[in-house]
């Protein structure tokens, strides 16, 4: 089925964002901060930065915030009273200007958060989020979307996908019902599309490795401690990779307050030394090499097996953010070529 297309220009995009804002939606878009570009809440197109290859953090915070309140509690007459979140009161969100890799990541997050126990807060946020993607005219050496089933112009996960045609004009691909609704709500801003073919406006991202080789290679390498020790020796065990990654969903739960307070969910990282520390004192992953191995196994072996989705979209953020250059693409190539 051919995708419905439109076109829109820069000025109309600016009006579109204003319209979303006037509808009470919050808009999450890339914004410059010093020499870094990161997702932030914006009120106008003027604040948005669209020429970077990728942002520091992913837009996963729209559906999986860095810190979120699960519920509040207090005591009354000796009983604990829970005040659940009013899901209907959650604001509508538009994520604007994210790349196709980021758009594809929501499927991985949804696979985790709706797997065995459906997470109502996550699902409510996702239902209220419209994803307006922007395809990639440029890539860098850290990108590997095409090796994990994605691409610089892939529409999966976006409700609308924009492609910059130059001269302030954008191709608009309407990918989903949500996308169609959004276009229909602003008829004057969208014009019929003239350009149908977008390939010439997209980056060239050659496949770096054969994905089919990765899971079996990981399984074969599982009991090769020297391999993992070698790869992970410079890893410092921080959370920069996990927190920046759009598919990373590990979280911690913390109660704050006393007799009354809030239960909060917040990000966690499998790279932290105490991530798997048991109350008994036993830690099944006491070495950084075991934690590094688990990061790769989770993304490329366990998630495909359990949830039929790859836990990585090839955005390259983890590699760019890592203070010691743990380049996941480099490591995946090594895994694909390893002879255990």
């Amino acid at each position: 089925m051919e995708t419905e297309t439109r076109s829109i220009n820069h000025e109309a995009l600016s009006k579109l964002i204003s319209q979303w804002r006037s509808e009470g939606k919050q808009v999450l878009a890339p914004k410059k901060n010093g020499d870094k570009v990161d997702f932030a809440w914006v009120t106008s197109l003027a604040e948005v930065s669209l020429d970077q290859v990728q942002t520091v953090q992913s837009p996963k915070s729209a559906v999986f915030p860095r810190v979120e309140e699960l519920f509040a509690f207090h005591s009354r007459d000796g009983q604990v009273v829970i005040n659940e979140r009013d899901l209907a009161a959650l604001p509508g969100t538009v994520i604007f200007g994210l790349r196709p890799c980021d758009a594809a990541a929501f499927a991985a997050l949804a696979a985790i958060f709706t797997w065995d126990s459906p997470d109502s807060l996550f699902s409510a946020r996702l239902a209220k989020t419209v994803v307006v993607g922007l395809s990639c005219p440029r890539a860098d050496e850290y990108c590997f979307c095409t090796s994990v089933g994605g691409g610089p112009g892939a529409a999966t996960g976006s409700d609308i996908l924009l492609t910059d045609l130059g001269h302030g004009a954008y191709l608009v691909e309407i990918v989903s019902a949500k996308g169609r609704q959004m276009v229909q709500a602003a008829p004057g801003l969208f014009q019929p599309s003239v350009v149908k073919e977008k390939e010439t406006f997209l980056a060239q991202v050659d496949r770096a490795f054969d994905l089919d080789k990765i899971a079996p290679a990981l399984v074969a390498l599982f009991d090769e401690p020297a391999f993992w020790a070698e790869q992970s020796r410079r890893c410092l065990g921080c959370g920069a990779c996990a927190y920046g990654g759009p598919t990373c969903a590990c979280f911690d739960i913390q109660d704050e307050g006393g007799v009354s307070g809030k239960r909060l969910r917040c990000w966690d990282s499998c790279g932290f030394g105490l991530f798997t520390l048991h109350t008994s004192g036993h830690n099944p992953r006491p070495l950084q090499s075991q934690r590094w191995r688990q990061r790769l196994m989770h993304k490329f072996a366990y998630m495909p097996e359990r949830q039929q989705v790859i836990g990585c979209v090839g955005c390259g953020r983890c590699s760019r953010a890592c203070p010691v250059d743990m380049n996941i693409l480099e490591h995946l190539r090594a895994i694909a070529e390893a002879k255990p």
Binding site: N33, E141, Y142, L236, A240, Q254, A321, P323, D325
Partner: protein, 268 residues
């Protein structure tokens, strides 16, 4: 660079050390830590202006310690770090071979004992540069409210990824204060108040110990200028107690000791 590569190979062949911790070329042309265990791999060692990471951080990692005796390619900051670690009884005298590389990169100065490192370090310029002083001055000139707004904006972006902690060689506690949960002294979630408390904690626990290598800021994925907190306190420690970290292998840490006449003009 050849001198460094040859020296490393020589050390490994002679089994003087089991690993040479140095810099290699990584992604995007940047330098990254390498652990050379075979003489045949010594050619990948580099040393130039891109080599800034404080490699002393790896001296505290069990996965690296278990490789055996190490030689460490040391920047001036790493030298100071090693002395500070020595002062805190974390490294043994003679247990590490330091390869000090001056800015030119052609000559390697092997330093096998703390005394040798001290002598070498004393000859270097350890003062804050004029630019660094000016940067801190800028903050004084800002005024209280502007400073408050500045740091509130910065900490609102903190993720609590602890890259700053992980990158710092002096943050080596295996059970960090943030991991104590009876009570949960520093909040786990990365909300604004918790981020402030974490950054205050980090700055205070490094006061009088930090050697101002700047790796905390370089590690921060969201670009918070964390090193300014540490540099400010290092300056205050020097001004109030005339103490500078990382100059000697035997010291009483500034914050673990006192003088009867420490300044107290603010105490009523």
């Amino acid at each position: 660079m050849d001198a460094l590569q040859n020296k490393a190979a020589e050390l490994l062949v002679a089994k003087t050390v089991q690993v040479v911790i140095g810099y290699g070329r990584g992604s995007g042309g940047a330098a990254r830590a390498v652990f050379i265990r075979e003489a045949s791999k010594a050619h990948s060692l580099i040393f130039d202006g891109t080599c800034r990471q404080n490699l002393a951080v790896y001296l505290m990692k069990p996965e690296v310690r278990q490789l055996g005796k190490a030689a460490l390619v040391a920047t001036p900051h790493a030298l100071r770090t090693i002395l500070q670690l020595a002062a805190e009884n974390q490294v043994a005298d003679g247990g590490l071979l330091v390869l000090a590389v001056p800015a030119s990169g052609d000559e390697i100065v092997p330093l096998a004992t703390f005394a040798a490192i001290e002598a070498h370090g004393a000859a270097l310029d350890n003062d804050m540069s004029a630019a660094e002083k000016a940067e801190l001055q800028k903050f004084s000139a800002m005024g209280l409210e502007q400073r408050r707004q500045f740091w509130e904006e910065q900490f609102s972006r903190c993720l609590k990824c602890y890259a700053c902690r992980a990158a710092c060689p002096l943050c080596y506690c295996t059970r960090c204060t943030v991991e104590c949960n009876q009570p949960q002294w520093i909040p786990v979630p990365a909300h604004d108040l918790g981020n402030l408390e974490w950054n205050v904690m980090r700055a205070m626990h490094l006061a009088g110990r930090c050697v101002d290598c700047g790796d905390c800021s370089r590690a921060c994925p969201v670009g918070i200028p964390l090193h300014l907190l540490n540099r400010k306190l290092a300056g205050d420690v020097f001004a109030a107690f005339h103490f500078r970290s990382g100059m000697a292998a035997k010291v009483d840490n500034a914050m673990s000791t006192f003088k009867p006449n420490d300044p107290e003009d603010f105490i009523r």
